[in-house]
């Protein structure tokens, strides 16, 4: 009972957190700041070594999700060693710039991957 109440409270918290003010990143700056991401996210079909799976596609991803994901890596709520290292070195402003740039890459026409 307490557990389920906790879960509900957590969910409510998440929804509030997720819907906080929309970020104002600068996509032109973000374009330069994704330079260090290219080695992994830039290579079509690139796979992480262990366990083996593709590095996710992040170009065109939704803006607030990218901000949340990078903040989760930054705070270690989400664990993946190289991404934690990347995110630790990013400022809040850089995260917003990167998210603005990456989300701006979504094409008008959907494609088949």
């Amino acid at each position: 009972m307490i557990r389920s109440m906790l879960t509900v409270a957590l969910m409510a918290g998440f929804v509030c957190f997720a819907s906080t003010a929309f970020a104002k990143g600068d996509p032109a700056k973000g374009r330069l700041e994704v330079y260090s991401c290219h080695g992994c996210h830039g290579v079509t079909g690139y796979e992480s070594v262990y366990p083996e799976y593709h590095v996710p596609r992040i170009a065109g991803q939704n803006e607030q999700y990218i901000i949340d994901a990078l903040n989760e890596y930054k705070s270690d709520a989400r664990h993946y060693p190289t991404m934690n290292a990347q995110a630790h070195s990013l400022t809040e402003q850089q995260i917003e710039n990167i998210a603005a740039y990456l989300s701006s890459l979504a094409p008008k026409q959907l494609h088949k991957n």
Partner: protein, 136 residues
């Protein structure tokens, strides 16, 4: 009787052709039915109903499988996930918890097969020629 068997195997072959190409694992047609619960947030088209929900359409299937395994792990050990990889989100932990391996393969086969706005970063960083840098 014989005709029936031929019909059924033809249908199976057609299904395999139609959906088997996009992904190595799972059955996208079965996944489409199981994905109804996901659509409230991730959208009928798999592109997310709000900016805080990720687009899944056209994402790598093996990455989506890994993500669901990490949510299932939720701090515990999972036979398929290394302990150093872990994520924790109240909503997704709860959504992933009841899924079987078959469910995960089918659902991810479905989402990864949908028309996508996602791509890799290649050609989209500084120095590449997509126009943005000309604005300064």
């Amino acid at each position: 009787m014989q005709q029936r068997i031929i019909l059924v195997s033809l249908a199976a072959a057609a299904l395999a052709l139609g959906f088997g190409t996009a992904s190595a694992k799972g059955n996208a047609a079965a996944g489409a039915k199981k994905a109804v619960a996901c659509e409230a947030c991730h959208g009928k088209d798999g592109n997310g109903t709000a900016p805080n929900y990720p687009a899944l359409a056209g994402q790598y299937q093996d990455y989506l499988i890994e993500a669901l395994h990490e949510y299932q792990t939720n701090g515990r050990t999972h036979p398929l996930v290394s302990g150093i990889h872990h994520r924790d989100n109240a909503i997704m932990n709860a959504m992933a918890a009841p899924l079987t391996e078959q469910d995960i393969e089918d659902i991810t086969a479905y989402f990864s097969s949908l028309p996508s706005k996602l791509s890799d970063l290649s050609g989209k960083v500084q120095g590449s020629d997509d126009g943005l840098h000309s604005r300064g």
